[in-house]
Symmetry: C2
Subunit: 138 residues, 2 copies
DNA sequence: CTGAATCCTTACTAAATCACTCAAGATGAT
DNA sequence: ATCATCTTGAGTGATTTAGTAAGGATTCAG
């Protein structure tokens, strides 16, 4: 049930950008503040950019900044698109459902479904702004 | 946030044993009913035995059966001991806490803690008997 | 008593994933 | 033009996952 370091690092980066909203921070700056290795962080920021959460400015004095308001960054969405479905099993996933062999008679599926629903609810109710303000589920 | 096949297989095996309470089932029988490869299942049942959830009988006509009442088998405990902590990060784990570098100022920890608490609550409130009866969190 | 059925133990491994690192190119500010 | 920065794509060592394989130990049936 672990979250990978990639997801964790992405959120750290978003938090730092959120704490300096409006400013443009270089990858090196973000790396300093998040303790994420520069060259790994590069890849992660690239992905966050593709997901539309962040924008970049190239060239000297360039860097990254948030593309949207922190209140519009959905944490569940970030994690799901960065490291895959929130459900603990394919058969319980809504966004990337995959059938199980034993599904028709499976006694476990309701459990997995309940876990996925609960986790998804927490994560999807939380925005970057909530985290920045130490406030949860609105 | 995935659950590994080992945990899934262990629960499947326990469910089959629970559905035939009192009887002794051979590994081959359990493998047939769970679709878990025999030689992998051996290892898993061995672990379940060490955890005290199951007992074995050797020799001809031997096999496995539940050691305790299904109502006494805590699903959270099974999963945790078979595949590690329920928390999504070390710093949010109660049973195997590990510090994070950024912990003092970390804005994420409350989120991880909340996820771990919720997941743990669901899993620890559920027993094998609940699953067998398609009933949850009593 | 013997042999077959079964669990037990240990060792091994192919494939996937993770957590990066590295090198070279593109772009923009000065 | 130069330098700081992002961009792109490939490469890699460590770890985990999901098993397989081989042989030994124990019990029961006949
Ligand atoms: S775990 Fe997917 S249907 Fe049972
Ligand atoms: S994630 Fe562990 S303290 Fe922030």
């Amino acid at each position: 049930m672990k979250i990978s370091s990639k997801g964790e690092y992405a959120l750290r980066a978003l938090l730092v950008l959120g704490q300096h909203e409006g400013k443009v921070l270089s990858i090196a700056d973000i790396s300093d503040k998040t303790l994420v290795p520069i060259s790994y962080l590069e890849q992660i920021l690239l992905q966050l950019k593709m997901l539309g959460h962040v924008k970049s400015k190239r060239g000297s004095r360039g860097g990254y900044s948030l593309r949207t308001n922190p209140a519009d960054v959905n944490i569940g969405d970030v994690i799901r698109r960065l490291e895959g479905p929130l459900a603990p099993m394919g058969c319980a996933s809504i966004t990337s459902y995959e059938p199980c062999i034993l599904e028709p008679t499976c006694l476990l599926k309701p459990l997995w479904t309940r876990i996925r629903d609960t986790v998804a609810q927490i994560l999807e109710e939380t925005t970057l702004a909530d985290l920045l303000d130490r406030r949860f589920s609105r």
